[in-house]
Subunit: 368 residues, 2 copies
Amino acid sequence: MDRPIFVTRPDMPPLEELEPMLRQIWQSRILTNGGEFHARLEQELARYLDVPYVSLTANGTLSLMLALRALGIEQGEVITTPYSFVATTHALQWSGLRPVFADISPKGFALDPDRVEEQITPRTKAILAVHVYGHPCDCAGLRRVAGRYGLPLIYDASHAFGVRMQGRSLLEQGDMATLSFHATKVFNTIEGGAVICRSLAMKQEIDRLRNFGFAGETEITGIGINAKLDELRCAYGLAALRHVDDAIARRRSLDAIYRRELGAVPALTVPPAPAEDVEWNYSHFPVLVPQGRDRLYERLKSDGILTRRYFYPLITDFEPYRTLLASQKICEAPNARRAADSVLCLPLYPDLPEQTLLRITDLIKKYC
Amino acid sequence: MDRPIFVTRPDMPPLEELEPMLRQIWQSRILTNGGEFHARLEQELARYLDVPYVSLTANGTLSLMLALRALGIEQGEVITTPYSFVATTHALQWSGLRPVFADISPKGFALDPDRVEEQITPRTKAILAVHVYGHPCDCAGLRRVAGRYGLPLIYDASHAFGVRMQGRSLLEQGDMATLSFHATKVFNTIEGGAVICRSLAMKQEIDRLRNFGFAGETEITGIGINAKLDELRCAYGLAALRHVDDAIARRRSLDAIYRRELGAVPALTVPPAPAEDVEWNYSHFPVLVPQGRDRLYERLKSDGILTRRYFYPLITDFEPYRTLLASQKICEAPNARRAADSVLCLPLYPDLPEQTLLRITDLIKKYC
């Protein structure tokens, strides 16, 4: 290992598979604002993901902003999790919404429906939950709470590409689900994302909003934005999609080796894989190190193994949110804090050599 | 002409010039979040544009949102123009700012400093002006008004790539200027944009904000967003930049033919080119047709010539803004209205054949 091992590495389709599509783009000169590859990628993703409607976007943050606007969630509070990538909450802020944080479940990494319910007030406008590491949230519990108060329920499913539960796509849960296709994700379009819609009308609304709200040359139906995914990235996505099953299979086998090697190390806990009725995507390999997580992180780093403390610090501990929360009833979120203080995501990507993985697990056993 | 002639056509570098860079990206697997091509494009653009600091972004709308946030313009009103692409005002809305509209000058297409001054109140937080068609605003007048009231002045310079005035880049005017590198622009990165900053500190703030506000793995300095331009688009931009001088030269010669052919047609007015001390980029070729503009537009369309009524309708006439303005002192903006009701942008792009252009001008003469 003569170079650093990153926590993840983009999974890229062979350049040769992209080249014929590039030549076609150079011939048509259709670069963005829709186009053949854009239409094909939306169709192929809907089929692959087994969902009714996919609207492509320029990235996962913009997906969330579009979903909130399309659902008419404006002004007020949205209950969400402090244990996520900060984009989840930033999207609320850009949408003029105030994040209110609830704790995660004591088991797992996602919002606890009971803790969500405690935070609901007349100012609450929606619930925004995150399928952290592609582990499904307690969807039944969240649906119950959202239904009881008539609140829209949105899932940030950035980690949950391809995840299925009880034989159906996890992305069908909630009023909308959003995806990120950032380079580091199980499926990527370099930068990109999508909104999963339950109805054609909703897809059409997202499609308009991602192109400034235009519904024709001279009409606008809402305050849109530019969230268009261009033809090059769509072509890349079409090529990448052909390989994603193989990539997930490879992730699964690496996940199994990690579990075998680390399952019995007393100083750390390997969180269980999702329940048996879940087809998972093995997007991350988190371990919990209650004592000395940062020391382990640093020691591995000095060996050229760049693990990541996803998600540390909690969103509520970042400066702009600390200031915001100073005027808010603080949510203590002990479960989220425990996770943030002990989690370490280990390198996991399809072409991580097994030998490298075993070297990583050997080092961890040595240091723990 | 056996296919429609669009108002513009993307100017693309030869695919062969991109290919070695693509191979390098496939080798390095650095796809986004900075990278060699990103750094090089920022440097080469700063040199080409003759400005101190360039921060690349994912598109022009996000450029504006980042500029407003970096300057700390939050809550309150921003005085802007109704005669622009709607993204100018959408960016204010996404930033929690209320657009207040002022009229454009009776000559030209940009904000009239006197009309801006009339709209200033204690709620005013900034002025957002647009160099429409790359024609410089009355920068001295706007600077005087902004200075008198201590207001930040931002230029949406989406049309003004490469424009110089009195020997200096127009992009140096104001506290910040933003660019769009959309496929239709004089210089494009397919989708993309930039913020032109006057100081390194401001560039660094934009750089953090476009990557969620991160200032290291565990620190965030502001409510950022994802506005990253990926390595593929940066590589494309590097190849495109080599050809932009030729493209502008070609635009200039087409502009001259249009002027020669249409200058004496009584039914229309060709707005004069910018003053002699301006090096222009010939981004658009607008004509003003006070009577029967829409009829001309339709007749040309039926001949397969797709001109565009940039900018019609006025932003203030789009539904979401009509509603917003219902509660606001309405700005009548007769000059902007006159422009919107008479303007027609004719096809102009570097590889528009001269013969096609002459066919367009012949048809216009026939119909007028």
